[in-house]
């Protein structure tokens, strides 16, 4: 037997969607988490309700790595349709738990893994009479088998099941029974021949719980004071608004009167959703919409209006794989360059790039302040991996600051002013003052329009007026560079560096450790917003080679950097890309860097 591997391996469960496997997968995840071991679940699911293949990876990492692994150590094969392909994703020395009726002999199968055939169907059939229920319980049997083989106690699995079926005692009992069947079978019929095991540990998971980015962003909307939300259902963003609805139901309804301190509209499409948000933002409410790539495409015209007429809005884009309908249930950092310049004409937006659940929350909250401060649409670019997967997270911090409503003139302010103009650059930061409809003052009103306008918001087609306004908008954009979330830098003076953003961060963390073990040290800068902070160019200037890692085919952020960097720095950046729809793994960073760093390119300066 090989050397024992404890608390550092990945389990992949291959099932068919609509079979209730999600509950079982979460029970397994939670049972491991109960041992104090960091776990990172990744759900790779189909765009379908029932019958297509789905994979659930449980990454177990004593160091706390949360990115996906490309290959896995332990496969639970419960989908006959994908069984032959699934087995190729198991590392040599791995183990495969499979339905006993699948053939093990045959040329495509491997002799470098351990097989555990289990008659799942038979066990389910003999123990559960209800046909529909049987389908679901079969999945819970696998949990028992895995738990027994890895050394998770029945008590921990039972506790995880009880937690999963909180308000359904009867369902919990049946599921406990199903898991027990798995335990018993494994104990009596299987001989442990693999090297994987789990041991209780401490110091990593204390105080943490599972939270997905969409729920965290919804919490940010509540604490950020969002009062109007308009949305059109789309994977993978729907759960953001659904969480917002659930939280609003609990925290924004007066228990006595039933009156609501929030308006949430399911719009007819994304054009209407962003229109409602801009109407509400113009009228002074903090408003948001949540969507994904196809919705962003539809919002393009209104986005330019928001930019040019200067109306606050918060737009969440939980990115999925495109172009077109693409892979609706797979992840990508695909909308970065599109969102940044969304709309026709000269348009440049503020874009926030959360990488963690904590940032999904904090940037969500901050987006409302920035929208008011800069009077413009703020894009928060999350992705499916962050939004829909569960991540081990510390309790989110309670907000410390009051809302920043930006430059809003009240009736009292107007009484003190001789005159004001909606688009005057009084403070030389490009940000004008605004009034809200309803302000009881003769001079408060102004006309908001997407057509050419002067400093007083009057219609104008004059060339100098038009250009002056565009130049002021650039000044505003420049002001934003240092007001948006600044990059996070880990720098020890190494010549090579990695630059990444969003969820790519998690693969970079592990990749840097692997590279260090191979003798390659790297510095690291994580971009957290657009426009780029001046810090980004300064960081690149201090390094000889900077690898820009991202999850899209065309190197979108790399492209933006090439446009914005001074000429002499452009040759220092290189693009590393991952774009197969599943979250990036460490080796997708390590492999190209190893190759490049072993023979460092001669700088073309």
């Amino acid at each position: 037997m090989h050397q024992r591997v404890t608390n550092d391996f990945t389990i992949r469960v291959a099932t068919v969607n609509g079979s209730g496997s999600q509950s079982s997968n979460l029970v397994l995840t939670n049972a491991i988490f109960r041992l104090g071991i960091p776990v990172a679940p990744k759900n790779v699911f189909p765009s379908n309700i029932e019958g297509l293949p789905t994979w659930f990876d449980v990454r177990i990492s004593s160091k706390g790595y949360q990115c996906r692994t490309r290959d896995v150590d332990l496969l639970v094969a419960l989908n006959t349709a994908t069984w032959r392909t699934d087995i190729t994703g198991v590392k040599a020395g791995g183990a495969v738990i499979h339905e006993a009726t699948y053939p093990v002999a045959g040329e495509s199968l491997r002799d470098d893994v351990v097989y555990y055939p289990v008659p799942f169907n038979e066990l389910a059939k003999t123990n559960f009479s209800d046909g529909t229920l049987r389908k679901y319980l079969l999945n819970m049997i696998y949990v028992g088998v895995v738990a027994e083989l890895l050394g998770i106690s029945e008590a921990d699995v039972e506790a995880a099941i009880t937690g999963q079926f909180k308000r359904k005692a009867k369902a919990a009992a049946t599921n406990v029974e199903a898991a027990r069947i798995g335990f018993t079978y494994a104990r009596e019929q299987l001989t442990k021949r693999d090297r994987f095991g789990l041991e209780r540990m401490s110091g990593q998971t204390e105080g943490r719980s599972f939270l997905d980015g969409n729920r965290a962003a919804a919490l940010g909307c509540i604490q950020g004071g969002c009062t109007v939300a308009a949305w059109y259902p789309i994977t993978p963003s729907s759960s953001l608004c659904e969480n917002f609805i659930a939280l609003a139901e609990k925290f924004r309804v007066d228990p006595q009167t039933g009156e609501r301190r929030v308006a949430i509209v399911q719009a007819e499409d994304e054009l209407a959703a962003i229109g409602m948000v801009l109407g509400a933002g113009w009228a002074g409410a903090r408003a948001m919409t949540s969507t994904s790539g196809p919705g962003i495409s539809l919002m393009a015209e209104w986005a330019g209006y928001g930019y040019y007429a200067e109306v606050p809005a918060v737009i969440f884009d939980v990115q999925r794989a495109g172009p077109s309908t693409g892979l609706p249930t797979r992840t990508m950092q695909g909308d970065v360059s599109f969102a940044y310049t969304l709309s026709h004409g000269d348009t440049k937006h503020i874009v926030l790039l959360p990488a963690t659940v904590e940032e999904a929350y904090e940037m969500s909250m901050e987006a409302f302040d920035l929208a008011d401060r800069f009077q413009t649409p703020i894009f928060v670019l999350s992705d499916l991996d962050l939004g829909m997967n569960s991540w081990l997270t510390q309790p989110l911090p309670y907000p410390q600051k009051p809302f920043d409503r930006g430059k809003v003139l009240t009736e009292k302010d107007l009484n003190k002013l001789e005159s004001w103009g909606r688009y005057r650059d009084v403070d030389h930061d490009g940000i004008p003052y605004r009034t809200l409809p309803g302000t009881n003052h003769d001079g408060a009103g102004y006309f908001t329009r997407g057509t050419g306008h002067d400093e007083e918001a009057r219609y104008s087609e004059m060339p100098d007026v038009w250009q002056r306004n565009l130049d002021r908008l650039v000044r505003k954009h420049e002001t934003a560079r240092t007001a948006v979330p600044q990059p996070i830098v880990d720098e020890q003076g190494h010549p090579a560096a990695i630059l990444a953003y969003g969820t790519t961060h998690h693969a970079v963390i592990e990749a840097r450790d692997i590279l260090r073990n191979s003798g390659i040290e790297t510095d690291y800068l994580r971009v957290r917003a657009l426009p780029f902070s001046p810090e980004v160019a300064a960081f690149i200037a201090r390094h000889e080679r900077v690898y820009v890692v991202e999850q899209n085919r065309d190197g979108q952020l790399f492209g933006l950097l090439r446009i914005e960097l001074p000429d002499h720095l452009v040759s220092r950046i290189q693009s590393v890309r991952h774009y197969n729809g599943v979250p990036i793994d460490a080796h997708s960073v390590v492999d190209p860097l190893l190759e490049a760093e072993r023979e460092p390119a001669v700088a073309a300066e």
Binding site: L271, G281, A287, W302, T393, P402
Partner: protein, 335 residues
């Protein structure tokens, strides 16, 4: 100096000079709007003027200059109006649209605004033609109506009133830009109504659609107008002094206690019957006529803000302590 109920002169309700063609029906509508807003006594700071794109959508600049205006993107004003109303339910949201803005590019948003019964006044300045792009058909052009060069429209017309009634609209009227006597009280009743008020106002385009062969020319409209009822608007608690013969008038009380009195013209008509309204629209259209007056009103349907049980405080005014989860409840979310 004469002032209205909120102490303002009529002058305050005016706007910038129009930039539309001389003789444009839209300019007449603007004047009727000024009169209706002045007489109704709308406080300018509580008026939100919303529009999309097109000749019609320019007109919010031409009345109540003091009020906030929002000239949005083509066909999407209903969504912006919805958002504005949700943010501040104290505002009188007045949207001005056209037939292209409403019935072509904006048909989807129009439909959904109506079915949500967003509390707003939605004026369609309907001339059956695209003015700003110089004379193409719009979707409200009648079958057989011709362009200036003689090309007839061969596609079915979209009747924005019939469509609205079908979608559950709670206030639907049709009028003519030249008929201030009918239009001003209709506008005031629309201001008073809580819910979406649709006013489809035939408004001839003197430049591109006022020729022989057009069914939206001044001449055609004058000859084919079938007046259903003549409205009077009576504000809340105001005494109804006009005497009517029994059976010649329908008195409809609106949500705020005001009344709209509908004097019978040629026939008995019940403006609270959805089916009756659809019938008269179809009957008159089949005869090449168009019917004007208050076609339908239903005062018993909650508007969007009521349906959503919104607090009476404008959402825009809510503060941290009313919006954030309390510190005491926060930690429990992460266990």
């Amino acid at each position: 100096m004469t002032v209205n109920i909120v102490g303002l002169t009529r002058e305050v309700y005016k706007g910038l000079p129009t930039t539309l063609c001389a003789g444009c029906g839209h300019n007449s509508i603007t004047n009727h709007l000024i009169k209706a807003l002045y007489e109704y006594g709308v406080a300018p700071h509580l008026l939100a003027k919303m529009s999309g794109i097109g000749c019609s959508s320019k007109t919010p600049a031409y009345f109540v200059e003091q009020a906030h205006g929002f000239n949005g993107v083509h066909g999407r004003m209903p969504s912006a109006a919805t958002g504005a109303k949700l943010a501040n339910r104290e505002m009188l949201v007045l949207g001005i649209s056209g037939d292209g803005d409403t019935a072509s590019i904006g048909l989807g948003q129009y439909a959904h605004m109506v079915r949500r019964n967003v509390d707003c006044v939605y004026v369609i300045e309907n001339n059956g033609v695209y003015g700003l792009t110089k004379g193409q058909f719009s979707a409200t052009a009648d079958v057989g109506s011709t362009l200036k060069n003689g090309t007839p429209n061969e596609y079915a017309t979209i009747d924005v009133c019939g469509l609205a009634i079908e979608l559950g609209a709670t206030f639907v009227a049709r009028s003519f830009s030249g008929d201030g006597k009918q239009l001003v009280p209709l506008l005031q009743a629309a201001f008073a109504h809580r819910g979406t008020s649709i006013l489809d106002i035939i408004s001839p385009c003197v430049t591109f659609n006022d020729h022989e062969g057009s069914t939206k020319s001044y001449a055609y409209v004058k000859d084919h107008d079938v007046t259903l009822n003549a409205p009077d608007f009576i504000r809340p608690r105001e005494e109804i002094t006009v005497d009517y013969e029994p059976g010649t008038m329908q008195d409809i009380e609106l949500e705020d206690g005001s009344h709209v009195l509908l004097r019978k013209v040629d026939r008995d008509y019940d403006a609270t019957s959805r089916i009756g309204a659809l019938s008269i629209i179809h009957e008159t259209r089949d005869r090449g006529e168009f019917v004007t007056g208050l076609l339908f009103v239903d005062t018993g349907v909650p508007d969007l803000c009521e349906r959503e049980k919104l607090t009476l405080t404008p959402l825009k005014d809510l503060k941290e302590d009313e919006l954030r989860i309390a510190r005491s409840e926060w930690d429990a979310l992460f266990t």
